[in-house]
């Protein structure tokens, strides 16, 4: 019996041909090295800091904190993007598509500008998180009213875009009437940074992301059927509506956590799922864990570059993700566009 199980597994992984398996081993094997490499990079110099001195220990713990934040943020963004692309069946879907960024941005802007003295710096992420969730609920309600019951993909995307636009115009108004200092703070928050916030927030966000990723992994086999559309998923014996709502909630939870932790970092959530799909196929059972690892590692690496390249000046990590990651991913996608998405 045991033997038969193994046989079956081979049949399933029939798709993972030797080439793909080699690629996967290469990818997973390089992850620890890349993470280690990021620990060695920083504005204070390349290499391990002197661990016997207090400053050296502080530097290392600072870098470790950034690696941790980068890992959970990148994983959350990439997994959220993969989920949105599956539910909405749209290659342009990304974590911010349903207005999460607009809502979080508006909340953060109000918190930063309105209460620079009142609210502690740790209050901003909480406000951003809460307003992101509220925005999604609003978008979902508007979309479901519009299409009478279960919202259609297009009504979701459209209401998301509209709500985002409203949020950003309010942000622009607030920013235009803000003091120079407030303006500076808001812009820097929006550019995104993995600068370690306090440990309790890291741990809280980390556990939220872990729970949401576990949830995404549990529903991942059903996402395959869902990409054939809500009707087909229903015909195949799934509770399609429940599945869609659960995936939307998980994807938003991931995106909102990422935004509240590190501001608005673009590109990771859109491109990492595409590249992973191009390299390892679209089966979500593999895709969800792979994009989480890939997104996390990618963001950690970008952050290491961001703080090292022009040290002591720090480049916003969102600039690096697209500027350095863009050409690299274009090279991969150029040859394997068909494996990534067929429209």
């Amino acid at each position: 019996m045991q033997r038969k199980e193994i046989c079956a597994d081979n049949r399933f992984t029939g798709r993972v041909r030797s080439k793909e398996r080699f690629r996967m081993i290469l990818f997973l094997g390089s992850v620890p090295f890349l993470l280690l490499l990021s620990l060695l990079l920083g504005p204070s110099g390349i290499g391990l800091p002197d661990l016997h001195s207090t400053s050296g220990q502080a530097i290392l713990s600072l870098r470790a904190g950034r690696v941790f934040t980068g890992l959970i943020t990148g994983a959350a963004l990439a997994a959220s993007g993969a989920l949105f692309q599956a539910i909405l069946r749209n290659p342009l879907a990304e974590p911010y598509v349903l207005g999460v960024s607009g809502g979080a941005g508006l909340g953060a802007t109000i918190a930063i500008l309105g209460g620079s003295g009142m609210i502690l710096s740790s209050g901003v992420p909480v406000v951003a998180f809460v307003s992101a969730i509220i925005t999604l609920l609003a978008v979902y309600l508007i979309a479901s009213r519009g299409s009478g019951g279960q919202p259609s993909v297009y009504s979701l995307i459209l209401s998301g875009v509209i709500v985002s636009a409203i949020c950003s115009s309010v942000i622009m108004f607030l920013v235009s009437s803000a003091s120079t200092e407030g303006l500076h703070n808001v812009i820097w928050w929006m550019l995104g940074s993995l600068q370690a916030s306090d440990t309790s927030q890291q741990l809280f966000s980390g556990s939220l992301v872990a729970v949401a990723l576990l949830g995404a992994w549990v529903i991942s086999p059903r996402l395959n059927a869902l990409t054939l559309g809500r009707e087909m998923a229903h015909y195949q014996g799934l509770n399609a509506d429940l599945l869609i709502v659960a995936s939307l909630l998980l994807a938003t939870l991931l995106a909102a956590t990422a935004v509240s932790l590190a501001g608005m970092i673009g590109f990771v959530g859109l491109i990492v799922p595409h590249v992973m799909r191009a390299l390892f196929g679209p089966d979500h059972r593999r895709l969800i864990p792979l994009v989480s690892i890939g997104g996390g590692t990618f963001l950690v690496l970008c952050d290491a570059l961001a703080r090292t390249l022009l040290a002591p000046l720090e480049i916003p990590v969102g600039v690096i993700t697209a500027l350095a990651g863009g050409p690299f991913f274009l090279m991969i996608l150029q040859n394997r566009m068909k494996e990534a998405w067929i429209g």
Partner: protein
């Protein structure tokens, strides 16, 4: 003992603002091969979606193998009923094997692990539909016929007791259609799977089905054997055109044909019909009368009226009056000339008011000249003249020999009959 596979009892169903199915009752017995047919937009797809619990019925009861569908869990529903859609749209590059594997997802546990038995079933379904050779190819690269066979394999992998196909084969070429039909017939005869095929091809359905369900705007017009349903009069009414049915001398199957050849013959007759219309009520009449080979004239119409626009577009001789003005004497005299040279006069379902009541006098003129006049039903409902003058005039016209028409199909039938005399 045979069970009833699908039973609708007084089911109404539809969308938010539109009821599509209206109090529908029928049943499909286990092991039957049933064809569901009817004109476009009559509610076939809605019926199918309602049967698959994708649409909640507004009222009535649906039973699948004796169980109320409201009480069936999604996975046991998938084990009873599989649906092959018109087309499967797979945006991501799944392989054929991965696509067919979706058929087992309803039975997989929480983590979606597939057992060796699941893989065996998937392979068997792929062999049955002859798609195993594509297993590693991308689903989207396949041709339409191949994709449709993969879709069928996916539904077979559910191991359902009944399969419904939503016009899944109508866009396949004859070769692939035969192939899919052969698979379906095999499933039906060998495995006893109940099949409901939504199809526009009456002849094809007649040759393979045990029974027909003929739908007509949200209702079942008739359910029965091909012989009982394929009646020229019934089909002509449901589809709104002339159809004839004969038995193929070679195969013995019933064959439904349109009457294009008779149309061609009639085109030469070119009897002249004058149409009294207005407000868009004449467009369908113009179109159908022209197609059926009549020479059409119309008037009096106001310029800018949608019927006037239509008559100009269709190149119909028309008497026109100024926009938004009552019909005047000049125009009326021209229209009388036109009526004198026509064979028939038809009044459309136009509302009458004081401005155009005089147009109904044209019918009186026609009757006096010995022409046949056809009046629509329900003139009284559309009569906005003082003291219902149009209605009393129409009653007078009926007394003088005008005939009543209810549907355009009726009307053209009567016109052809008169022309042939």
């Amino acid at each position: 003992m045979k069970r009833t596979a699908l039973q609708f009892t007084g089911v109404s169903s539809g969308y938010r603002h539109r009821k599509v199915l209206d109090n529908v009752s029928f049943s499909v017995e286990e092991g039957e091969f049933v064809s569901l047919t009817g004109p476009n937009g009559c509610g076939k797809s809605t019926l199918l979606k309602t049967a698959a619990a994708l649409l909640k019925p507004l009222s009535g009861k649906i039973e699948l193998f004796g169980r109320d569908i409201r009480g069936i869990s999604p996975s046991s529903r998938a084990s009873l009923l599989g649906v092959v859609p018109q087309k499967i749209d797979s945006p991501m590059a799944y392989t054929v094997y991965e696509t067919v594997m979706n058929g087992r997802i309803g039975y997989a546990g929480l983590r979606g692990r597939f057992s060796p038995a699941d893989h065996d079933i998937v392979e068997r379904s792929m062999i049955y539909t002859d798609v195993l050779k594509f297993r590693e190819r991308s689903f989207t690269e396949l041709s339409g016929g191949e994709q449709q066979r993969v879709a069928l394999a996916m539904v077979l992998a559910q191991e359902p007791e009944m399969i419904m196909l939503d016009e899944s084969i109508s866009h396949l070429d004859i070769n692939h259609r035969q192939e899919v039909l052969q698979i379906l017939l095999g499933l039906n005869r060998e495995k006893g799977i109940t099949i409901v095929l939504v199809s526009h091809d009456l002849n094809l359905s007649a040759s393979i089905s045990d029974r027909f369900l003929l739908m007509e705007t949200g209702k079942i017009a008739r359910a029965g054997t091909p012989q009982e349903v394929l009646e020229p009069a019934l089909l002509s009414r449901v589809y709104g055109c002339d159809l004839s049915v004969r038995r193929d001398p070679v195969s013995g199957c019933l064959e439904v044909t349109g009457s294009l050849d008779t149309l061609r013959r009639r085109r030469k007759l070119g009897a002249a019909v004058h149409v009294v219309a207005g407000g868009g009520s004449g467009i369908e009449l113009y179109r159908r009368l022209q197609i059926e080979g009549f020479e059409v004239t119309t008037g009096v119409l106001n310029r800018l009226d949608s019927d006037a626009e239509a008559s100009r577009a269709l190149d119909i001789r028309t008497v026109l009056e100024q926009p938004f003005s009552p019909v005047g004497g000049d125009a009326f005299r021209q229209a009388v000339d036109m009526v004198e040279s026509c064979d028939f006069l038809v009044v459309s379902q136009v509302p009458f008011g004081t401005g155009n009541l005089i147009n109904l006098r044209l019918a009186e003129v026609a009757l006096e000249k010995g022409k046949q006049v056809f009046l629509p039903s329900g003139i009284a409902d559309r009569d906005y003249t003082e003291g219902k003058a149009a209605n009393s005039l129409s009653l007078d016209l009926f007394r003088k020999g005008a005939r009543l028409w209810e549907s355009v199909h009726d009307l053209t039938g009567m016109l052809h009959q008169k022309t042939d005399q």
